[in-house]
Amino acid sequence: MNATLQATLGELAALPGVRAALAATESDGLPAAAVAAVDVDADALAAFATALFHRTRLANAAAGYGETRHLSLDAEHGRLFVVTTGDIALVLLTQPDASAGLLRVALQRALRTVA
């Protein structure tokens, strides 16, 4: 499982524009494995990305939108993508010009691999 996870994260991290790819437990926000640039704090990324996803899930449920499947956030200097299955969250931190469509497909594929 760990080798599969690490290999999957390695493939995600090799995509153009990706600065960090990590897997975290969604319930407690702790990283399980990460492939990240040296200036990325993987612990903080896992904690905040999963917290954001958790909040978004609650907001969507409260609004009657059902289950949250995917979260993407565009900021001035980068993009954040989060997908979950069970208690595993996959998180990507990318450059602002990274291809959202490509990354989204790659994330869904990776999610099926690690699920």
Binding site: A24, S27, D28, G29, L30, P31, D43, A44, A46, A47, F48, T50, A51, H54
Partner: protein
Amino acid sequence: MTRSVAPWLDAPLGEFVRQARVGLAVALEPSGRVLAQHGFTRSVDVMAVCSLVAAINASSSELGRQANGDAFGPLHHGGGKRQVFLAPARAGSGTVLLLAVFDDRTSLGIVRHFFGAFTQSLAQVTDSELANGPMTGDFERDLGRNLAVLFGRA
């Protein structure tokens, strides 16, 4: 509301509680003497919690020394609805124990992250600020007085 008997703890603990979104927090000396609290409404609860935290810290520290050669770091217990996080932080030449109780409004990762900021704040505390604290050396009297201050009875 965060209340303390140690002015150098006011800002760091208040910031930790606000950022990490914990429901209850208490800072104490390893001896069990309370220094600051947030969220407790009864002094007897703080007293009991401080006693338990001091005992847990003493036990786990000694266990760490026996098994690991050095005291263990932060301790986390997960419950059904609530979780506790207990960790030591250096303040000047002393140590402050922080206990935080939180639920699913936050996560262990978030609590750990902001505990890091808390420890950095306490690392700036000087021994002269510590000496300006509420301690007189009489444990029982200090405990009683600190609890009175924390719950607005002093």
